[in-house]
Amino acid sequence: MFFIPGIVITVLTFPGVIVHEAGHLFFCRLFGLQVYGVCFFQFKNPAGYVIHENSDNFTAQFFVSMGPFISNTLLCVLFCTAAFLPAWELKIADPLAYFFYWLGISIGMHAFPSTTDLKHLWQRAPALAKKGNLLAIVSLPLAGLLVVLNYARVVWADLGYGILVGVLGPIAIFKALVR
C-alpha cells in the first residue's frame, strides 16, 4: 500500500465534499431544521461540515444523515453515465468525458456519511425498528455497512465505492435501456 495524505485526496476530489455538504444543507432545509454553521470546503479536517439541530423526527434525522449518501451516489451515476461510454466502453479520447468521470467519481467517493451522522442513526434505529418503523429497519443494516466502509477508508473503500458506482451504475442504466 502507498500512503497519500488525506488532504491531498480531499483537494483532488473537492467537488464531492461540496456536494456532500450541500446535500446535508438541502435536507436540513427540507425538514425545517435549524442550521448554525456551514462550511462547504476547507483545507483541514473536516474538509466540510453542516452544524444543525438534532431532530426528534427520525425521518428527518435519516434523510439529513443519509441524504448526502443518496444524492452523491445519484450524482455520481449521472455524471459517470455521461462519460461512461466514451471513456470506458468505446475508448474514445474525449476530454469532456474524462472531466465528467473525474467529477462523478469525486462526488461518489464522498458519499459516505460521517461516523457522527451514523452514530445518531445507530442510537435511535433499533428501538424504532422494533416498533416496525420501515425507515429504521432499512437504516440498521445500511448504517452498519456504512460504519464498516467508513473505517475501510484507510484502504480506499471510498474511492472503490466511487469507481464501483461510476461503472456499475451506467452499465445498469444502459442495459435497462437497451431491451
Binding site: 435549524q34 448554525y36 455521461a82 461510454l85 466514451p86 468505446l90 474514445i92 469532456l96 468525458a97 465528467f100
Partner: protein
Amino acid sequence: MGQAAVFTRNIDGSLCALCGKENPSGSDFPFRKKLPFCEKCAPLVERWPYPLWLKLSLAGLALLLAASLLHGRTYFHAGSEMYRGEKLVKQAKYAEAVPHLKEAVRIAPGSDKAVLLLAKAALKIGDMKTAAMALQGHEEGHFENGQDQDVQEMKALWERATGAAKKANEAGKLALAGGKDVEAAKLFREAAAEYPESKEMTAAMPYFDEGAAFEQKNYDRFLSLAQEVFAKKPNATNAATIASAWACKYAVSGEVKFKDEAEQFLLKGQGMAQSDAEEKKQMEDYAPRIRYRIDSRQIITTQEYNKRFRSSEKEKK
C-alpha cells in the same frame, strides 16, 4: 447522603445563540425552538441560504451535463448498438448482431469490446472479411488484455477460420492446376469441416466434388451433383455443367438421348448467359469444350483442351 444533582442548561436570552450579540435593550431575543437569535441571525438559522457561488456552480454543471449529453448522442448511439449486438451475440443470433456491431465499431474502432463482439459474430456466420476489417482497424488486432477469455475465444475462432481459408485456397490452386481434382476436393472438404460456419465454403463444396467425380470418370455422380447445384442456383454456368455431364455420358455410351440432353442444356446455358456479361464470357470459354465433347465423343480435361486448341489461337493472335 445528599440529593441527586439536577443540571439545567443556563441560556441567556439576551445573547444571540449564533453571533453572540447582546440585545441592546437588555431584554431577551425571541426564542426560535430552544434558542434565542437576533433579528439578523434568526432567518439565517431557520433557512440557511445556499451561497451564490454554489448556485452558479450547480447551474454551470447542469448546463455542462446537458451539453455533454447532447455532445454524447453519437456515443449513446454507438453504445446502444453495441449492447444490442452483445445481447444478440449472447442469444447466438450472430447474423442479426453484425449490423448493430458494425455501426458501433464504425463510431468507436478503438473499443475492445465492440471489436471483439463484431469479430466473433462475423466469424460465427463465416464472414471473415468483416472480422478481418474490424480487427485490422483495431491496432492491428492488439487488445488491452490479451489474456482475456473473450480475446482468447476470438483468437481461437480466427485461427480456425484462417486455417480453413488457407486450406481452401490450396484446394483451389490444386483444382486449377488440373489432374488433381480428387485431392483438391479432399482438401476442400477438410477446410469446410474445420470451419463449418462458412456458408461460402459449404456452397463451394459441390463444385469440388463435381471436379473429383469427373476425374474419377464417375459421370453419373458428376451429373447428379451438377443437377443438385443447378436446382439450388440456376444460372448459365451451372446449366452448362449439366450439359458437360450429359456430354460425358454420351461420349462413353453413345446414347443419343444423352446427346440430346447435353445439347438442350448447352442451349439453355447460352440463353441464360445473354443477360449477364460475366456469365457470357464464361460460356464463351466453356461452350466450345462441351461442343467438342459432343462432336468428337472424346473426354479431355480443360488443360488438355487448351493445350490442343487454344495455345495455337494465342499464337495466332
